[in-house]
């Protein structure tokens, strides 16, 4: 999602680097939480993308279940 992870600023951050940081989190840390638009933009984009992907999966599963019905009846 976020291609260029910013350099970790602390040991804790390094430890958790791969554990799925919230988009906007890294930017926010760097900017000491002053930049709301940055976070909001990242959230908006991320939420939209997540919803599309997850929704598409749900629809594909619906079609697959019908296909299963066709195949075995």
């Amino acid at each position: 999602m976020t291609k260029n992870w910013p350099t970790a600023t602390s040991k804790i951050e390094t430890l958790h680097d791969r554990s799925g940081l919230a988009p906007g989190r890294a930017e926010a840390k760097r900017m000491k939480q002053t930049s709301r638009p940055v976070i909001e933009e990242a959230r908006k984009k991320g939420a939209r993308r997540t919803a599309m992907v997850v929704g598409a999966i749900a629809f594909a599963i619906f079609l697959l279940s019908l296909l299963q019905g066709l195949r075995y009846s």
């Binding site: 554990s19 940081l21 926010a28 939480q33 976070i39 909001e40 959230r43 991320g46 599309m52 997850v54």
Partner: protein, 538 residues
């Protein structure tokens, strides 16, 4: 639809809209939508409960006393549909809506308008479903599992299928919203492995919903085309197979029971540490156990079908796969007990319900293990033993956890403490009568009483009468719950502090009580020691 999260600037500093219609019908606020879900769920709990009262009244004595057999069958079918899709699932979505943003430091759900839509579909779906009871030919009476060919009788099927589609769409949108919220809206510093267990449980549950609700939709769509469009998916005369429906249905149905229990695990994992004043034992193990249970839930569905004539290899596979679930579940039970071990425990109402959950859910788990034994299941199948089993899991499991969660967060929602005395009266009545209600059903089932029948052999008379008495009193006890809630919302004078419970940790306790209309509009600065598991190493 994909409008994200944070509120537009012009309404930043406003409270709730004063117009009733605008506030509740057009709400995009996670707290108000959470409240709507919870109120809806409580209403459905009583409607589904009244159906259960009809069932227990008819079964009070052998012989037919009160209702016609068809109506009895409508009651068992509707009781299940209403309780599962109308009471338990919306209650968890309501709790998730209210608490997930507060727990991860987000200003709202990621997709607030879709959130509104997810909720407002439900009243229409249930109005449609319940209206079938007034159709000339009656409502659905073939059981909530809708097995063909039985479910194909009568003209209510089309209505039921449409209602199920609506519920499914609502659940899928709710799940999309929860996933998008948890993955995108966490406050800086709220790493995935610092999230409260309740949030984790909901994240995993949401993926289960995404994976199985479309399958249910597929199954009922095929029922519909079989009945009205001349297909024969499940019609042997046309080359189809009725057992195929059972496979598809239970591929949805088994994960569905975990959809109803995993968020309950999450709730109990919040409550026990608070009142034991210790962090949860084995945080990562708890999260991993939830994920393992979710995975295993996809490969056990045919344990509902041992009696249909599966190949021997199938019986054995599904038997062992099912028994495997006892391992992560056992991890959870032992971890809850270990969390309490050596803690300075107090026994406020949420804790009482949570402890009752651990003990009574485990009874339901053990009877589930008994049912998982394929050879033994030929005896238990479709008997009252099954009824006893899943009511322990769903009533003393899911419902008790929902009640515990409600007591736990009621001070945060209302700004007032509820009456601890009446909470305890509610608890003790519930816990006693629920066992009087369901425990004898084990004996009835082992003695051979089938489920879903309006009349029975006189040999079953005594235990049925005891069970019915327990049922009436358990039902009546829930009125106390309503009383406690009404008192806490409108009449309680006792102000709740921000941190309503001394041992409570997590971001939700850092905001005022009652939680203001907008919270965390500026992402909070997270200090690990505020979190329940800020620096876990286990």
């Amino acid at each position: 639809m994909a409008h994200a999260a944070t509120h537009d600037h012009h309404d930043d500093h406003h409270g709730a809209p004063s117009n009733f219609f605008v506030r509740w019908c057009m709400s995009t606020n996670h707290k108000d939508i959470g409240t709507l879900y919870l109120v809806f769920s409580l209403l459905m709990f009583f409607i589904g409960g009244s159906f259960a009262m009809v069932i227990r009244a008819e079964l009070f004595k052998p012989g037919m006393q009160l209702v016609q057999p068809y109506f009895f069958n409508e009651m068992t079918t509707m009781h299940a549909l209403v309780m599962i899709f109308g009471a338990v699932m919306p209650a968890f979505v309501g709790l998730g809506n209210w608490m997930i943003p507060l727990m991860i430091g987000a200003p709202d759900m990621a997709l607030p308008r879709m959130n509104n839509l997810s909720f407002w579909i439900l009243p229409f779906a249930f109005a449609l479903l319940l209206s079938t009871l007034f159709l000339p030919g009656g409502g659905p009476a073939g059981g909530w599992t809708m097995y063909p060919p039985l479910s194909m009788q009568g003209e209510s099927l089309a209505y039921v299928v449409f209602a199920v589609h609506l519920m499914g769409i609502s659940s899928i949108m709710g799940a999309i919203n929860i996933i998008a919220t948890i993955l995108n809206m966490r406050a800086p510093g709220m790493d995935l492995l610092k999230m409260p267990v309740f949030v984790w449980s909901w994240l995993i549950t949401a993926f289960l919903l995404i994976a199985v609700m479309p399958v249910l939709a597929g199954a009922v769509t095929m029922l519909l085309t079989d009945k009205y469009f001349g297909t024969s998916f499940f019609n042997a005369a046309g080359g189809g197979d009725p057992v195929l429906f059972q496979h598809i249905f239970w591929f949805f149905g088994h994960p569905e029971v975990y959809i109803m229990i995993l968020p309950a695990f999450g709730l109990v994992s919040e409550i026990i540490p608070t009142f034991a004043r210790k962090p949860i034992f084995g945080y990562k193990a708890m999260v991993f156990a939830i994920a393992s249970i979710a995975f295993l839930s996809f490969i056990v569905w045919a344990h509902h079908m041992f009696a249909v004539g599966l190949p021997l290899g199938g019986e054995i596979f599904f038997m062992y796969a099912t028994m495997l679930i006892a391992v992560p579940t056992g991890v959870k039970v032992f971890n809850w007990v270990s969390t309490m071990w050596g803690g300075s425990m107090t026994f406020e109402t949420p804790m009482l319900f949570a402890i009752a959950f651990v003990i009574l859910f485990t009874i339901g788990g053990f009877s589930g293990l008994m049912l998982a034994l394929a050879p033994a299941d030929f005896q238990y199948h479709d008997s009252y033993f099954v009824v006893a089993h899943f009511h322990y899991v769903l009533v003393t499991g899911a419902v008790f956890a929902i009640i515990a969660g409600t007591y736990y967060w009621l001070p945060k929602w209302t700004g007032h403490m509820y009456s601890e005395t009446w909470g305890k009266i509610h608890f003790w009545n519930s816990v006693v009568w629920v066992n009087v209600l369901f425990f004898p059903q084990h004996f009835l089932g082992l003695a051979g009483m089938p489920r879903r029948i309006p009349d029975y052999n006189v040999a079953f008379a005594n235990f049925n009468m005891i069970s019915s008495i327990g049922g009436f009193l358990f039902g009546a006890s829930q009125l106390i719950f309503v009383g406690v809630i009404v008192h806490a919302v409108w009449f309680s004078k006792k102000k709740a502090p921000d941190r309503a419970w001394e041992g409570a940790k997590g971001l939700e306790w850092t905001v005022p009580s009652p939680a203001p209309f907008h919270t965390f509009e500026v992402p909070p600065v997270i200090h690990d020691e505020e979190l329940a598991h800020g620096h876990v190493e286990d």
